[in-house]
């Protein structure tokens, strides 16, 4: 039982002090504060804390198989639990890529044994992520894949993309797209703009992303298919998705905490921790993304948690691997940089951090009675320094390391079980 928590669920408008009783993995009762009596149950004093539906991240790299030196299912899922997540979807750009039913089955078995939070896995759209032949999509679905994505790479061939969308009618499941035209990106390592001009680095133009989104929205409309656009970064992309949605195209999209809080100015000191794909873009782009989160055009906030070893990042910027971790800082960064200054409101951020479930056909976490008990218990007043106590993730390539953040997830309950609790908080529990 969570005693005296501020129960907060933006979808139902719930916001009040309650005793939340959890029994048999479900939310059994939302009693008025101080009224619930339960025998033999753990009672957690949640006075001053906010209880929200736990978060769901549809875009995480767990690096298994192949690069367990960067992350594995155990460390990645623990990082998720520490960040308040009750569900994650692992991408398929592993080594080798997840493109066979056997690989999906093996990952699911590993997750059963090792994962702290429920983890689903997408399979690749094309064999070996080579972009030329489709995987056995229907069989992969039967083996338990939760969607398809060649994330890390775009599907360059319009013909292959179209076939995948046609085949979706048979295979079902979401197709999540890393949208980028490699012809336009070229050797780019950061956003093409004034900062790249100053640093002399090859730029990735915004249109590299938006033109591919436009192509795939047109194909999806033509084939009556649905697509999920990953990590939107540019204002041009926002415009394209907005126009597609207005035409009735079945498209959902996500943005990352780092694209919502940082711009290419952050790259000026040439620190490789700020290198990712898509790159941090201009301040105007960032503002367009924030406006799109506010308006609801951006359906969900996903971290694109991308762990890398120190060796991959401790090199000149142009040589460094692309990607940043994000699970453990997502809420705190959004809360500190966007909610506290009044740029976005708390309900929007909380709602969008769990909305990724819906885009992949999972049940949205909720505090409603009889819902599965997936709860993140957050101290909005907590102040902490990111990374100062180490990370649950095996990798440390956070672009927020060293930042003083406000708001911290203290405990994550997944299906009624405590999946994570901060050490300091655990000591305070009776």
């Amino acid at each position: 039982m969570l005693k005296n928590a501020r129960a907060f669920d933006p979808r139902t408008g719930l916001d009040g002090s309650h005793d939340i009783v959890i029994r048999d993995g479900k939310i059994a009762e939302l009693a008025s504060a101080g009224s619930a009596e339960v025998d033999g149950a753990e009672v957690i004093d949640a006075d001053g804390l906010i209880a929200v539906p736990a978060f769901f991240d549809p875009h995480v790299h767990l690096r298994t198989p192949g690069r367990e030196d960067k992350e594995d299912i155990e460390t990645g899922s623990r990082a998720a639990a520490a960040g308040g997540y009750c569900g994650i979807i692992g991408m398929a750009n592993t080594d080798p890529p997840i493109d066979t039913p056997a690989a999906i089955e093996s990952l699911r078995e590993r997750a059963q044994a090792d994962s702290t939070v429920p983890a689903g896995f997408v399979a690749t759209v094309t064999r070996g992520m080579r972009g030329s032949e489709l995987t056995d999509m229907a069989e992969l679905r039967d083996a338990g894949a939760v969607g398809f994505s060649d994330d890390g790479l775009p599907i360059q061939s319009a013909r292959v993309m179209r076939r995948a969308l046609q085949y979706q009618a048979l295979a079902g499941l979401q197709i999540a797209l890393h949208e980028e035209d490699p012809e336009l990106s070229g050797k780019g390592v950061m956003h093409e703009g004034g900062v790249a001009a100053l640093l002399g680095m090859a730029g990735v133009p915004s249109v590299s992303e938006s033109t591919m989104i436009a192509r795939d929205c047109a194909l999806a409309a033509y084939e009556n298919a649905r697509i999920h656009v990953q990590h939107l970064s540019a204002s041009e992309s926002v415009e394209v998705v907005e126009a597609a949605k207005a035409r009735g195209v079945e498209v959902t999209c996500e943005a990352t905490p780092h694209h919502l809080t940082l711009s290419d100015e952050a790259v000026r000191p040439l620190d490789a921790r700020f290198k990712m794909n898509p790159p941090l873009r201009s301040e105007d782009d960032r503002q367009a993304l924030i406006a799109a989160v506010r308006s609801g055009l951006i359906d969900t906030i996903a971290t694109d948690h991308a762990p890398h070893t120190l060796e991959d990042k401790e090199v000149p910027f142009e040589e460094a691997a692309m990607g940043v971790t994000g699970l453990e800082t997502a809420f705190s960064v959004l809360y500190t940089d966007l909610v506290v200054p009044g740029i976005l409101d708390l309900p929007t951020v909380v709602e969008r951090l769990s909305a990724g479930a819906l885009a992949f056909g999972f049940e949205t976490p909720s505090l409603a009675q009889d819902a599965e008990a997936n709860v993140a218990l957050i101290d909005l007043e907590a102040e902490w320094e990111a990374g100062a106590e180490g990370w649950e993730s095996r990798s440390e390539n956070s672009c927020f390391a060293g930042r003083k953040l406000k708001g911290r997830s203290l405990m994550t309950i997944v299906a009624g079980q405590v999946a994570f609790r901060q050490r300091a908080f655990a000591m305070g529990v009776a």
């Binding site: 093409e192 004034g194 100053l198 000191p269 090199v315």
Partner: protein, 323 residues
């Protein structure tokens, strides 16, 4: 000055101070014995990951003229060839406790990274397409020796700005010293956002070149054709070559070298009386002596290190006997 990484780290006063110091080394250069004992017993490492003739020769001779011990490492034939990371190479070389590391790298920000791994003063001798501050300083020195102060002078930088670290550093340095800078080149070779980022005018039309006091031509590499930046070197030369027809008698001509004769510069312009190209190379030595001097023995050094932070070092004096 702790390191020399980027022109953007320097103030106008610091540049002027370096120019005065370079003047005194130019004076030494006119003597019979051109070597001074100033940095005797101090070690300079020159680490070049890219082929370079004039910059490496210039820095190495500068170190020798100052009597420093010089270790010169070229990427080819070194442990770099065997896959050693930059971090490990720097750690290895730092074991010799050098006072300065001069580094040329194909990657932007390499010199900045090196500062995290060594106690030595770090000199950026070119990092990718990012910056080449010692070139910019010798360019400023060369122009000051001809024009005096650069305030209000109009300088056109013509050619492949996109791929040029010299363009970036020199444009910043010229602006810092009060000049007005125009970047001129085909739209494909001027980076997006360059005008705002560098505080320069941008034009794709060379017809206005006559307003310039100084024309600074950039190297145009043949590879750029294959990448569709320009249709052909012939068309590029037609539109952007600095030649006798475009260059007025009172306009000064500069180029960082090496020149593609007949592409960005015509032979007549390069060999003509307006050309400062050889003067740039000559002055490069004095400016690089000044850079090493300021970093290793300059009065405002704050580095905790093996050297006494001498407030006032005597002006350089020649050694009595040649070594």
């Amino acid at each position: 000055m702790r390191h020399l990484l980027s022109i953007s780290d320097l103030s106008r006063e610091e540049v002027e101070h370096l120019m005065e110091r370079a003047d005194s080394f130019a004076e030494v250069g006119r003597r019979d014995i051109k070597k001074v004992p100033t940095l005797r017993g101090r070690t300079v490492v020159s680490l070049f990951y890219e082929s370079s003739t004039r910059t490496s020769a210039s820095f190495e001779l500068a170190a020798k003229r100052l009597s420093a011990d010089l270790v010169s490492v070229k990427a080819a034939g070194s442990s770099v060839d065997k896959g050693e990371s930059l971090k490990d190479t720097i750690a290895t070389l730092s074991s010799f406790e050098p006072e300065a590391i001069v580094i040329r790298s194909p990657y932007a920000g390499a010199a900045n990274l090196v500062t995290q791994w060594t106690d030595a003063a770090v000199v950026n001798a070119g990092d990718g397409k990012h910056e080449h501050p010692s070139q910019a300083l010798l360019d400023v020195y060369t122009l000051r020796s001809r024009l005096g102060e650069l305030d209000g002078k109009r300088i056109w930088i013509v050619g492949d700005v996109l791929h040029s670290r010299v363009a970036r550093s020199s444009a910043m340095a010229f602006r810092l010293m009060g000049a007005e800078v125009t970047l001129c080149g085909p739209p494909t070779l001027i980076p997006r956002g360059a005008a705002e980022a560098l505080g320069c005018d941008v034009t794709h039309d060379i017809d206005g070149l006559s307003e310039a006091d100084v024309v600074y031509a950039l190297r145009m590499q043949k590879e750029r054709m294959a990448e569709s930046f320009v249709p052909s070197l012939r068309e590029y030369a037609m539109r952007y070559q600095v030649n006798g027809r475009r260059l007025g008698p009172r306009q000064l001509l500069m180029h960082p070298g090496p020149v593609n004769r007949g592409v960005e510069l015509s032979g007549e312009a390069l060999d003509g009386p307006n050309s400062l190209v050889n003067e740039q190379v000559k002055n490069g030595l004095f400016v690089r002596m000044a850079i090493l001097f300021e970093l290793l023995a300059g009065g405002d050094r704050t580095r905790p290190g093996r050297l006494e932070p001498d407030a006032e070092l005597p002006a350089p004096t020649p050694i009595g006997e040649p070594a």
